[in-house]
């Protein structure tokens, strides 16, 4: 059973193209920490075309978060924007990419 983060990024990769990102070109890297163990997701966007990998590359926007927190975000239990405002996620780089990207995050489970 894959975790929510893996499921989210895998599904994103399978989508290949996302109309909500057609205005976006650039890359986002998610550096996640799980009890000292690091994992990484790189999302490259080219006018809505999406490629997902674990590559260690420079990105236009880098997010750092606790893995458990990102699992909750990826499963609709937490709101990403509030987490950013709280300082639970830190961001470096192009914030507009993040604004566009957060539109892909799932709705809260309670609102389904």
């Amino acid at each position: 059973m894959p975790d929510a983060t893996t499921e989210f990024f895998t599904e994103l990769e399978q989508r290949g193209h996302e109309p909500l990102l057609e205005k976006a070109t650039g890359s986002l890297r998610f550096d996640l920490v799980d009890n000292g163990r690091r994992s990484r997701w790189l999302v490259e966007i080219d006018r809505g075309d999406i490629a997902v990998s674990h590559r260690n590359a420079k990105a236009d926007c880098v997010l750092r978060s606790d893995k458990a927190l990102f699992d909750r975000i990826a499963s609709g239990e937490e709101n990403a924007v509030a987490a950013v405002l709280r300082g639970a996620i830190t961001i470096d780089g192009n914030r507009q990419l993040l604004v566009l990207f957060q539109r892909l995050l799932p709705a809260p489970k309670t609102s389904a």
């Binding site: 205005k23 924007v81 509030a82 405002l85 709280r86 192009n94 604004v99 892909l104 309670t110 609102s111």
Partner: protein
């Protein structure tokens, strides 16, 4: 300035102090240094030899800068001091203050100068609602700096205070031992900077000693902003003053949405509580300002498009395609005690977004942006059909899903008692207010034009036009109050008319949803004595159950409201009536030094002789600032048609000659000339001008 308070701002950072320059905030008091919806300084008190100072005068040098002239001693009738104290303060990423003491005596003086400093790190919501903090405070001296901090889990905010002159720093402030020679002076720079996040880097004060020109975050300085705007020449000193005031205040209200970033600006809603992105306010203000600057509209369209809703989120009242209501950055939003990250509970912004997109293209010819935002426009139009028709009766209505902290009334009249029947009863939810149907109609008609001319989708255009025509037909049947000759304020949850007479009828004229055969009757009501006060159109008509001339949305006159009503009157050919409304509001502006308040009392003009300001927290308010601009447009009859600008003026005779030079648009730059001809009459002595067009 409101209640003796002095306000300066830069983006969403602002300082509110008393006329001495001191800050002494209690939790509920709106003074302090604020940034990102958080107070970073709540105490800032200057004493000389243990005494508070006495204000002689305050110069508002610019929207970001003021200067306080002070003398020691308080409470005396006349002042004969050997000392002068000058505080010159500029806000920008914290603030910078130059403190100067002049000794006018033949003898030297030795003084103890002290600045007391503290901070409660209150969220703006806490200041408004008086709530208690949940995190921990710290105070620390580090080298020559005083560090104030607040911490709640990962949420960390800090303020650092330092001085250029030698100071003894303790946890409560800074003390200077000062010697001033005869006829000499002493000075120090004080810097207050802010930081957010763990190990957060402090902002660097934007202004330093000797820097005098404005350094806005925006691409253009105030000087460039003013120089780029059309030039107004007029015999009316008051009109010229109001115009200049509006441009300067609009510059001050420009705001770069922090999370979207970039150097582009959009209008924030108002000072000090609403220095943030609001869907409705930003759109209305951008519409008002379009003939003068298109930058605000372009940024508003982009930023609101980036944040357009994609999910169903009950806490935030978010739906796919919905345009946001309000974005906030403070602690309560961060911990989801408030839903503003962002909050979407607004029933009109989504439709107004499409209206702005079309109006923007008509003025600028910028088809690139219109093409870029096609998906957003499509999603917005889909929201009207799929998410906004809560009663399944073909009308847009609203009902909050967040029943704890969401907004009850999601139209511009958003106070609790704004929507009522004639007898004063309040309807249940959902509520389908009339202006929402007008906006939906206008959005579809305008989108149809864009679909045909820009997006190359004539089938969609036909479909939109068919829907719009159907909506107009049904609306004129279902909302028409037969015995009053006007449109009902709303339909209630049972589809019955909420039958009070309101200013919303003017927005209906603006939207174009009013059948031509009904326009004259609507205008007669708008300009009649129950709604027209002589200064402007009351939000709710005299004689209705809840009418109160100083009730927020139930009797006051809102300059913004009147500016759109004037536009609506023009749209249906009632030029003289539009001039009447414009003349009334512009006359009122004189009483506020050209800065129109959010609202003023609905008292009849002949009775009070001057407009009674509604005691409001925000000034300047963006859409009040924009009102004189839109009124200028309507008086001059400016209308973009293809690549030309039509000018068809009708001005109140009190205004005399007016020239608006270098109006920017797809035609390049054009001039408009006019002379006042319409007599401004009291509300009871008027016959309607014939409807044309």
């Amino acid at each position: 300035m409101n209640g003796g308070l002095v306000r300066i701002l830069d983006g969403n950072t602002f300082v509110v102090s008393d006329s001495r320059g001191d800050i002494e905030a209690s939790l509920t008091d709106p003074t302090g240094l604020f940034s990102f919806d958080t107070r970073f300084l709540s105490t800032w008190i200057l004493t000389v030899n243990g005494e508070r100072l006495n204000p002689l005068s305050v110069d508002d040098l610019a929207y970001f800068e003021s200067r306080f002239f002070l003398v020691p001693g308080t409470g005396t009738v006349y002042v004969d001091s050997k000392l002068s104290v000058i505080r010159r303060r500029a806000v920008g990423d914290g603030f910078h203050e130059e403190l100067t003491i002049l000794n006018h005596d033949e003898e030297p003086v030795e003084l103890t100068v002290r600045i007391e400093a503290a901070c409660d790190f209150a969220d703006l919501f806490e200041v408004k609602d008086a709530l208690q903090k949940k995190g921990a405070y710290s105070r620390r001296v580090s080298g020559r700096k005083l560090l104030l901090g607040y911490e709640r889990e990962s949420y960390i905010r800090q303020t650092a205070i330092s001085a250029s002159a030698p100071a003894k720093v303790d946890e409560q402030g800074l003390t200077f031992s000062v010697y001033v020679a005869p006829q000499g002076s002493w000075t120090t720079d004080l810097d207050v900077v802010t930081a957010a996040g763990a190990g957060g880097t402090y902002s660097r004060p934007k202004y330093q000693r000797g820097q005098r020109g404005a350094r806005p975050n925006m691409e253009r300085s105030l000087e460039r902003w003013l120089a780029d705007a059309p030039r107004l020449e007029s015999e009316s000193d008051s009109l010229r003053a109001t115009y200049r005031r509006s441009l300067v205040d609009l510059a001050a209200l420009r705001f770069s949405p922090p999370v979207v970033g970039g150097a582009k600006s959009l209008p924030a809603a108002g000072l000090p509580w609403f220095m943030t992105m609001f869907g409705r306010d930003s759109i209305f203000t951008s519409l008002q300002a379009l003939p003068f600057t298109s930058e605000l509209a372009a940024t508003t369209l982009r930023a609101l498009g980036d944040w357009q809703g994609t999910r169903t989120d009950d806490f935030r009242d978010e739906d796919p395609g919905r345009i946001l209501h309000e974005m906030r950055y403070g602690e309560m939003t961060a911990f989801e005690e408030r839903p503003h990250s962002p909050y979407y509970g607004c029933a009109d912004a989504t439709m107004l977004y499409v209206v702005l997109l079309d109006e923007y293209e008509r003025w600028t010819g910028d088809r690139r942006l219109v093409r870029e935002l096609r998906n957003e426009a499509r999603a917005a139009l889909r929201w009207i059909d799929d998410y906004a028709d809560l009663m399944g009766n073909g009308y847009v209505s609203y009902q909050r899903r967040n029943e704890e902290t969401g907004l009850e009334n999601q139209c511009w009249k958003d106070s609790w008692d704004s929507i009522s029947y004639r007898d004063g009863r309040l309807p249940g939810f959902p509520r389908a207010t009339c202006e929402l149907q007008g906006y939906a109609y206008d959005a579809k008609v305008r989108a149809a034009r864009l679909a045909r001319e820009v997006w190359g989708d004539p089938d969609w255009a036909d479909e939109l036009e068919r829907q719009a025509a159907d909506l107009k037909r049904r609306f004129n049947r279902d909302f028409w109050v037969e015995d009053g000759g006007y449109f009902a304020l709303a339909l209630d949850s049972e589809g019955k008319q909420v039958d009070s007479l309101t200013s919303n009828n003017g927005h209906l004229l603006w939207s174009g949803i009013v059948a031509k055969s009904k326009a004259k009757s609507v205008v007669r009501n708008l300009m009649g004595p129950r709604l027209f006060s002589g200064w402007g159109i009351r939000t709710l008509a005299e004689g209705e159950g809840r009418y109160n001339p100083i009730g927020y949305h139930v009797g006051t006159v809102w300059p913004f409201d009147c500016s759109f009503i004037a536009w609506g009157l023009r749209r249906y050919g009632f030029k003289e009536e539009a001039a009447q409304v414009a003349g009334g509001i512009l006359d009122a502006a004189q009483f506020f030094d050209g800065r129109l308040p959010e609202a003023f009392g609905g008292y009849e003009r002949g009775v009070t002789k001057y407009p009674v300001q509604y005691p409001t927290a925000c000034s300047p308010q963006a859409w009040s600032t924009g009102a004189p601009l839109l009124l200028l447009r309507t008086m001059l009859g400016l209308e973009p048609v293809d690549d030309r600008l039509l000018v068809d003026p009708m001005l109140p005779d009190s205004i005399g000659l007016v020239a608006l030079l270098d109006i920017p648009g797809r035609w390049g730059r054009m001039d408009a000339f006019a002379r006042g001809r319409a007599a401004v009459l009291p509300p009871r002595a008027r016959s309607l001008s014939p409807a044309r067009g």
